[in-house]
């Protein structure tokens, strides 16, 4: 006891000189809170706020290669926007982005959910198989793209040789304008399955086992159990998976560049590749910014959904 009481006299001395002002202490605490927040705020402003605002401003400017030298980018009103909207390619890319996103999401989600439900059963090698399915997630997008381009090659690809065994003729996976988008969606589904499966599997672990026991006692069929217990209880997780999936799918770029370069004949151009093409191939940064802004806007709408879903989950 003596050791703990020893410093006691020191404290009153300090407090006597500094604590009489509770307002000051409060202010200091406030300052401390802001001190901790400051790095995050500075980081957000620098790396999210600044580029975002810059991108919006840029879409109203005539931003050409000379701008980098002169620093001059005259404002040109809605010229960039008009040019982008009048271009046939924009409508095409928008439609293809929608098809790509919806197709990918449905495929990834359904297969991911089916696998997640499957793995809740106990069977030998469950863990090993589950980790094997994670593999596509570990492979960088560009690598997947390049490997799949070889697999899907019409003449020398493995897939067509394999299908040939069953008498299925040469499928022009990436070389036909009507087929290429479907192929790109299929590859993206393959890439997205692990993410969906892992998150949904995690959600399934949260569903109380007793409910299933009760359902079994009531004699509910498997489908009925799934519909009335699994799905409703999984709803918050499903929202999160779909919204996150949407945001990562809608801005697709690397996969398409590696698989088809937007071709053949622009049949796999999306808003992502169009931004890239405008900014880095044509060096028309204003037009690139317009398409980029549209993408940000679309994502922002879904980000709001995501935040709301998360908040509801918190309650």
């Amino acid at each position: 006891m003596s050791t703990t009481t020893a410093p006691a006299p020191v404290a009153p001395i300090v407090t006597s000189t500094k604590t009489p002002d509770p307002l000051r202490a409060k202010r200091r605490r406030k300052l401390a809170q802001w001190g901790f927040l400051a790095p995050a705020v500075v980081f957000m402003l620098l790396f999210f706020g600044y580029p975002l605002v810059r991108n919006v401003v840029m879409s109203f400017q005539d931003y050409s290669p000379s701008t980098f030298f002169t620093g001059k980018a005259p404002f040109n009103g809605f010229d960039n926007w008009k040019n982008v909207f009048q271009n046939d390619l924009f409508g095409k890319a928008l439609l293809q982005t929608i098809l790509f996103t919806i197709g990918s999401l449905i495929g990834q989600f359904c297969i991911g959910l089916a696998l997640a439900v499957f793995f809740t059963k106990r069977f030998p090698l469950n863990g090993v198989l589950r980790s094997l399915i994670l593999l596509p997630w570990l492979v960088p997008m560009v690598v997947s793209g390049i490997v799949w381009r070889r697999i899907l090659d019409q003449d020398t690809g493995v897939l067509n040789s394999f299908l040939g065994i069953f008498g299925v003729g040469d499928t022009p996976w990436l070389t036909s304008t009507s087929m290429a988008l479907v192929s790109v969606v299929l590859v993206n589904i393959w890439i997205g399955i692990p993410f969906n499966m892992v998150i949904l599997y995690g959600g399934l672990q949260e569903v109380p086992k007793e409910l299933y026991e009760a359902a079994a006692l009531d004699g509910a069929s498997a489908w009925r159990t799934f519909r009335s217990i699994t799905l409703p209880l999984l709803k918050p997780v499903i929202t999160v998976v779909l919204v996150l999936g949407f945001m990562s799918t809608v801005k697709i770029l690397d996969l398409i560049l590696a698989l088809t370069d937007g071709g053949p004949a622009d049949s796999t151009q999306t808003l992502g590749t169009l931004t890239y093409q405008n900014s880095f191939v044509s060096l028309d940064f204003g037009a690139g910014a317009v398409v980029g802004n549209i993408l940000i806007l679309i994502s922002a709408v879904f980000a709001v959904f995501y935040l709301r879903a998360n908040r509801n989950e918190g309650k």
């Binding site: 790095p39 937007g262 071709g263 004949a265 622009d266 060096l283």
Partner: protein, 420 residues
């Protein structure tokens, strides 16, 4: 204890707070400061930088050797900074805006006009870069609106590569005209092997490969809807229809074409000398090289002129820029050009160097002939090339996947004219 220790604790906590707040604030201020100020202009008097796209090990090594020889000769230190080819332009532009441009930038021929148009490049002749013994065509290749901005060390073009064994076995001569090529390709197409391979991918690779067909037939990039261009595209379509050309061609880059040729899946291919290094890694592959066939016997085979060119960006320091010019003179000296050309299988830009080179590698002389008539993609259009290139790739892909050549090329020309 209950009375005293909370006070002590609070006191200690407060002190800790301050101990944390100060560094945190300082750190965020430093981060903000450095990020805002960017990379300022900090040049070492005796160190010169060359920005290039030699990211391949071998190319990086050859360049490093050249630069170290020139460093010794000129008494300065020359460093190279290599980024992927597609990033040279954007990296240079970023460096321009942060006023940290390198001393020398090696641009691809199709990109130089875009950079020159911004006014960011220096007139090489004024800075003292030698132009003796450089053929007119290559001087034009390095010029934009009459000013010489880019000095090429070596140039390249496309040629017809053929598998000697396969042609010999079939008893066929190397084709020289379109009809000969079409016939030979048809005969050589057997089993999983195609007669000919080329890249019609949706990027510059495909456009580069289309130009010799378009130009040898008298077509021009300024009039994509013309009869000559339509005929050239119809020729590609005919090869595809015969089955001599794989349908995957619309999805192949030039490197893919090379892989197919090496694997024996194609008897002939259109490709460039930069593939030779890889080709030679395949033992037992007996290949030859010839000029790209022409529409009718007697026509000129006009290929595209390619290759990097050394430019001096405007850094606002004439003394330094003059030294950069001396570095370019060293890099383009006869001996350096020959060394680089022999390593990389390209053709020296300097006429005297090219003559020596021809004697050393007679098997590649058809490449040198092809270069003599080759044309620059940007000679007519300058910075406007990129929009023509985009319209053209979309057009030939649409034609090869089923649409009529005439309508897609007319549409492409409209697209170029409307600026979309």
């Amino acid at each position: 204890m209950t009375a005293s220790s909370p006070d002590g604790l609070r006191h200690r906590r407060r002190r800790r707070n301050r101990r944390v707040i100060v560094p945190l604030t300082v750190v965020s201020a430093i981060v903000a400061g450095t990020a805002l100020s960017g990379c300022g202009q900090q040049r070492d008097d005796n160190v010169y930088t060359v920005l290039n796209s030699s990211t391949d090990d071998s190319y990086h090594g050859w360049d490093a050797a050249t630069l170290s020889r020139c460093s010794k000769k000129l008494g300065v230190t020359i460093e190279q900074q290599s980024v992927p080819a597609a990033q040279v332009m954007t990296k240079s532009l970023r460096m321009a805006s942060s006023k940290s441009l390198p001393d020398i930038i090696q641009f691809d021929g199709s990109e130089m006009p875009t950079f020159a148009e911004t006014g960011g490049l220096k007139d090489l002749e004024k800075l003292g870069v030698a132009t003796d013994d450089i053929p007119r065509g290559i001087l034009d290749y390095g010029s934009y609106k009459g000013t010489y901005y880019g000095a090429a060390r070596t140039v390249n073009t496309l040629a017809l590569f053929y598998n000697k064994d396969i042609l010999n076995k079939a008893g066929l001569e190397v084709p020289t005209t379109w009809s000969e090529m079409q016939e030979s390709a048809k005969k050589l197409t057997q089993g999983s092997r195609y007669g000919v391979a080329l890249s019609a991918g949706g990027a510059e690779d495909g456009v580069y490969q289309f130009t010799p067909f378009m130009w040898s037939n008298g077509g021009s990039e300024t009039d994509l809807g013309s009869k000559q261009v339509v005929e050239a595209l119809d020729y590609w379509k005919a090869l595809l229809k015969d089955g001599s050309l794989s349908k995957s061609t619309v999805n192949w880059t030039q490197a893919d074409v090379n892989d197919q040729f090496m694997a024996g899946n194609a008897a002939m291919m259109i490709n460039g000398p930069w593939q030779v290094e890889t080709l030679n890694t395949k033992k037992g592959l007996n290949w030859g090289i010839a000029q790209i066939p022409v529409p009718e016997a007697g026509d000129d085979s006009v290929g595209p002129l390619g290759g990097g060119m050394l430019t001096i960006p405007d850094i606002g320091d004439t003394v330094r820029e003059k030294t950069s010019a001396r570095i370019i003179n060293c890099m383009t000296s006869e001996q350096e050009e020959i060394t680089y050309a022999l390593n990389s299988w390209m053709i020296p830009a300097n006429q005297k160097a090219a003559d020596t080179w021809r004697k050393k590698v007679p098997e590649l002389s058809s490449l040198a002939d092809q270069v003599a008539t080759a044309r620059s993609r940007t000679a007519k259009l300058g910075a406007g090339w990129s929009s023509v290139s985009l319209a053209l790739q979309s057009a030939f892909q649409a034609a090869l996947t089923g649409q009529s050549s005439e309508s897609v090329l007319k549409h492409a020309q409209q697209r170029v004219e409307s600026g979309n």
